[in-house]
């Protein structure tokens, strides 16, 4: 028997205040109908309710780098950030390229119980880009894998990519491509531009991303399959995606919070906390990404939450690992870059951070509207809050947070996973 909760005075998707009754894992009643039941009261005056957020791109590091993050600590970050489901990327040690590993990750997620952990399977064995992993076995496992990605590496071999796109049609899978032409980005350290030339850091040209996206969109269209593009970072990529979508092709894309907010100028500090792949780009790219997320050319925000042990970031720039944390700050960054700028309303945020990512990942229990009978996956946030980000306050085992001391709006107050609170009063339950 689970507790019944009555959320009082909350504004679903930022609309009119109402009451929401959660019982037996579903939204049992709304408005006047919600009253009169014996329930735990949650005063949500001034808070906004969104469907629980879904992350298409999370690095949980387990198995292999449990010093940087585990499924459990990453799940804590997710819950605190308002997520009820995350997709765990395959680049663990061992790689999640077999039914055994994806089931292990899935099981660890169930044990942590703070959000649904949907493992992403590797496209190729060992993410080496040489031959296909047993995609069907992963799809048919208890983990029910639908997204396959070599993230961290690009499936750069065009013939192999074509085969992968074709093969996953058998179980309605999708290939999530890390678009990075490898030869154009050997030893690349930051966005290629005037700044990389001045700083003497090897450049990562926008064309290396755009060329792969264009190629893969054509391949996906040719074989009639689904392509998802990970962490889109350039204005040129947006144009190509817009073109591909105008053709009616099944191409979806995500953008990270950091690519919406931060720019390559930060590399002038040579502080590796700003080193990420794909790299931070220019202010013009940031603008184009925000516009594309607003008009739906980019479907989803995905964190690319990438924890790294302190010693892997506490070095000089070139030696440091790529990646930054993102789960706990994602919604705040989206509020700052999209809501405060008038580009998206809260319904739009729900669409880009819950509805569409759930659809892309094939997660039937997530991304539903807040309606009677729908699953009680909810996040309550306080949009009026604003405070500087404190990296030491994170639930992550890592501290590579690029937003340190940046003041961001919003605060996740409560997260419900199937009617059970994982976060109350901004603290884990």
């Amino acid at each position: 028997m689970t507790t019944t909760y009555l959320i009082k005075g909350v504004r679903p998707l930022g609309g009119a205040a109402t009451d929401v009754l959660l019982r037996d894992g579903v939204v049992a009643a709304l408005g006047a109908d919600a009253s009169g039941t014996r329930a735990e009261i949650i005063d949500a005056d001034g808070l906004i309710a969104l469907p629980g957020l879904v992350d298409l791109h999370t690095h949980l590091r387990e198995p292999g780098r449990e010093d940087a993050e585990t499924v459990e600590t990453g799940s804590r970050c997710a819950a605190l950030g308002g997520f009820t489901a995350v997709h765990a990327m395959a680049n663990t040690e061992p790689v999640a390229d077999t039914a055994g590993v994806v089931e292990q990750v899935w099981r660890l997620g169930r044990e942590a119980g703070l959000c649904d952990v949907a493992p992403v399977g590797g496209v190729t064995v060992g993410l080496r880009g040489e031959r296909l992993a047993e995609l069907g076995a992963m799809a048919g496992s208890a983990a029910r894998v639908r997204i396959f990605s070599d993230d961290g590496n690009c499936v750069s071999d065009a013939a192999l990519m074509r085969r992968a796109l074709e093969y996953v049609k058998a179980f309605d899978g999708v290939i999530a491509q890390h678009a990075q032409e490898p030869r154009l980005t050997e030893h690349a350290q930051m966005n290629e531009g005037a700044l990389s030339g001045r700083l003497g850091l090897r450049g990562w040209p926008a064309a290396a991303e755009e060329a792969i996206i264009a190629r893969d969109a054509l391949l996906a269209a040719h074989v009639g399959s689904r392509l998802h593009v990970c962490h889109v970072s350039t204005a040129g990529s947006v144009e190509i995606l817009r073109w591909a979508k105008s053709k009616g092709w099944s191409v979806t894309a995500e953008v990270t919070p950091h690519h919406l907010l931060l720019t390559d100028e930060l590399a002038t500090t040579y502080d590796p906390v700003y080193k990420v792949n794909p790299p931070l780009r220019t202010a013009e790219d940031t603008e184009a990404l925000r516009d594309a997320l607003a008009d739906g050319t980019i479907d989803a925000v995905a964190t690319d939450h990438a924890p790294h042990a302190i010693e892997d970031k506490e070095s000089d720039w070139t030696d440091a690992a790529f990646g930054m944390l993102g789960l706990e700050t994602a919604l705040r960054v989206v509020q700052e870059t999209m809501v405060e700028t008038g580009r998206l309303n809260w319904a739009g945020v729900a669409d880009r951070m819950s509805v569409r990512p759930a659809r892309i990942g094939g997660l039937a229990g997530h991304g539903h509207p807040i309606a009677v009978g729908g699953p009680a996956n909810l996040v309550l946030l306080d949009p009026a809050h604003r405070s500087p980000v404190d990296p030491t306050a994170s639930a992550s085992l890592s501290r590579n947070n690029p937003y340190a001391s940046i003041a961001l709006p919003g605060r996740v107050v409560t997260t419900f996973l199937r009617g059970r609170p994982t976060v109350l009063d901004a603290k884990l339950t």
Binding site: Q189, G197, G200, G203, Y270, E311, E314, S315, D316, T318
Partner: protein
């Protein structure tokens, strides 16, 4: 002057001229039987070389020793660094040993910047070459050498030829020469010019013959062996024909123009032996001047603000005016 020398851009024109004038004083020492000043007695200078560079290291070592500093050479090969010790732990070790100044050479661009701004050490940091970023003391010794031959550099034309993309020498030279008012032209095949070079304070050219007759100094950059196999240019011979400085091309320079090279040279590649050994070549002099310039930098960053030598040319008691402790 700023507390560290990480980039040639750290020097404004007053700073740059102060270094060059101080180096001129230091150079007078070279003509004396006893080539030593007490200026940095009791101070410790660490040469922290993560990348092999015997030439630069011994130049800094000689400079520090002539200023009576204690010198510790810390090279990566065969040390704890090659056994995986991090930059941070190395830095903390040096701090514990009381390094007043750290001269760092590193293969990673920005490593000196990181060392100076990390809070790991209190001493001043001198960049002795970081990745493909900068090598400011090389630019200073180049400017010093040019100044001795050409006088003040304001309005002078300097042509820098070769692998600008990977050259820390070129980056530092462009910045420093622009600060000093010289007009720089970079000459390279388009593959060896960085993206965004049009935003640098200089001109660029894809061919060498045009700029040479107007050049007061021409600086040939070393072409690294590994570039030759990475499609930056078709063959060594083609590079040499289009961008090498041979006797014919040298003949088109004005009579007063000098030929420079930061070393080590690839004779027959970017510079012919005839040119390297000609009367216009100041390449050996650059090496000698390197010591004077590095003495000036060490003196100004670690020592006092008094002139290094008194007006009469006698050594001043510089240690008396130097602060006893390193500012935090």
């Amino acid at each position: 002057m700023k507390r560290h020398l990480l980039s040639a851009a750290d020097l404004d024109s007053d700073d740059a001229l102060l270094v060059l004038d101080t180096a001129e004083e230091m150079r007078q020492l070279a003509d004396r039987p006893i080539k030593k000043l007490p200026a940095l007695r009791g101070r410790t200078v660490v040469n922290l070389f993560f990348e092999d560079s015997t030439r630069t290291r011994i130049s800094f070592e000689a400079a520090a020793k002539r200023l009576s500093a204690d010198v510790i050479n810390f090279s990566a090969k065969g040390s704890s660094v090659s056994k995986g010790e991090s930059l941070k732990d190395t830095a903390l070790t040096l701090e514990a040993m009381g390094a007043d100044g750290v001269v760092i050479r590193h293969s990673g661009s920005g490593a000196p910047h990181r060392l100076a701004n990390s809070g790991w050490i209190r001493g001043c940091v001198i960049n002795a070459g970081d990745g493909t970023h900068e090598h400011p003391t090389q630019a200073l010794l180049d400017a010093f050498t040019m100044r001795r031959h050409l006088g003040e550099l304001d309005g002078r034309r300097v042509t820098i030829v070769g692998d600008v993309l990977h050259s820390r020498v070129a980056r530092s030279n462009v910045l420093l020469l622009a600060t000093l008012g010289a007009q720089v032209t970079l000459v390279a095949p388009p593959t060896l010019l960085p993206v965004g070079v049009e935003t640098w304070p200089c001109e660029t050219s894809y061919e060498l013959d045009g700029p040479l007759p107007k050049s007061d100094a021409v600086m040939m950059l070393r072409v690294q062996q590994e570039r030759m196999n990475a499609a930056f240019f078709p063959t060594q011979r083609e590079y040499s024909r289009r961008y090498g400085l041979d006797a014919r091309r040298m003949g088109t320079l004005p009579d007063h123009a000098i030929v420079m090279h930061p070393g080590p040279m690839n004779r027959g590649m970017e510079i012919s032996a005839t040119v390297a050994d000609s009367a216009r070549s100041v390449i050996v002099e650059q090496v000698a001047n390197g010591v004077s310039v590095r003495m000036a930098v060490l003196y100004l960053l670690l020592g006092g603000s008094e002139p290094a030598l008194s007006a009469t040319g006698e050594p001043a008691v510089a240690t008396a005016s130097a602060p006893e402790s390193v500012p935090a």
